[in-house]
């Protein structure tokens, strides 16, 4: 008889998603500080921030969607 590994996997996936969101928040604060303190153009900073958040949102959505499809 093999133990059911599904709850552990589900927890692991949830943790990865949660960790990704926390890392994203910290990363945005760090890069945002650097861009807006030492960058040369506010427009470039805003564009970079929008692209970064858009891409990150897409990847986190990919994780969340696959989580709901898996479990």
């Amino acid at each position: 008889m093999t133990p059911d590994t599904t709850p552990i996997l589900e927890l692991a996936v949830q943790l990865i998603i949660l960790l990704s969101i926390i890392i994203t928040i910290v990363y945005v604060l760090v890069v945002g500080y650097h861009w807006f303190s030492y960058g040369s153009s506010r427009k470039t900073n805003m564009t970079a921030l929008a692209i970064f958040l858009g891409g990150t949102g897409l990847f986190v959505s990919g994780m969340v969607v696959s989580y709901f499809l898996m479990f």
């Binding site: 996936v13 990865i16 990704s20 890392i23 990363y27 760090v30 890069v31 650097h34 861009w35 807006f36 303190s37 030492y38 960058g39 040369s40 153009s41 506010r42 470039t44 970079a48 970064f52 891409g55 990150t56 990847f59 986190v60 990919g62 994780m63 969607v65 696959s66 989580y67 499809l69 898996m70």
Partner: protein
């Protein structure tokens, strides 16, 4: 912003502000993007090739939700690395004013190196263009030697149009020397 941090002197004029050549950042980002996009297509390709020779007990297509999850995680990690590379590119700037050359080198977050010299202290300016791509796209390194700064290195890497930059700095330095001498005579 950047110019506020540099703190220009009164009447000091910025002549040029340059970053590394676009090819450097594009080639880095391209390699990273390949790292994110290739693993899963390669897995499917490997499965396709293997299935011609042996009977596989499982098919990757049955685990597409897991693959989507891992692809998203991998893409996100690479996305962060790409923005690290871009931040490094964006914050590394060579600023040439009519009085100074200021090189800002961001060496990772919270590690920033700023070197500058006054143009009247410039002794020698070298450019180095290495390789076929650098020659074709016209980018290279700029190395300055200054009086009294023997130990500190002033090297800006992969700058676009290094010959033009060298000309600009030399011209600004030449303009600077008579005005300094006039001040000394007064």
């Amino acid at each position: 912003m950047l110019l506020e941090k540099i703190q220009l002197e009164p009447d000091e004029r910025v002549l040029s502000q340059v970053r590394r050549h676009w090819f450097v950042i594009v080639s880095n980002i391209f390699l990273l993007a390949m790292t994110a996009m290739l693993p899963i297509p390669l897995l499917f390709l490997g499965q396709g090739i293997l299935s011609n020779y042996v009977s596989l007990p499982m098919h990757l297509g049955d685990y597409w939700t897991w693959l989507l999850f891992f692809q998203s995680v991998l893409a996100m990690v690479v996305w962060f690395v790409i923005f690290n590379v871009w931040t490094n590119y964006y914050l590394d700037v060579l600023t040439i004013t009519d009085r100074r050359a200021i090189l800002i080198n961001q060496r990772g977050f919270f590690r920033r190196h700023v070197t500058s010299f006054r143009l009247e202290r410039l002794q020698d300016l070298e450019i180095e263009i290495n390789g076929v791509i650098a020659t074709l796209l016209d980018y290279g390194d700029l190395h300055a030697e200054t009086a009294g700064h023997a130990e500190e290195e002033f090297t800006a890497r992969s700058l676009p149009k290094p010959r033009e930059l060298k000309g600009l700095i030399l011209k600004a330095a030449d303009n600077r020397i008579p005005s300094t001498e006039n001040h000394a005579n007064l």
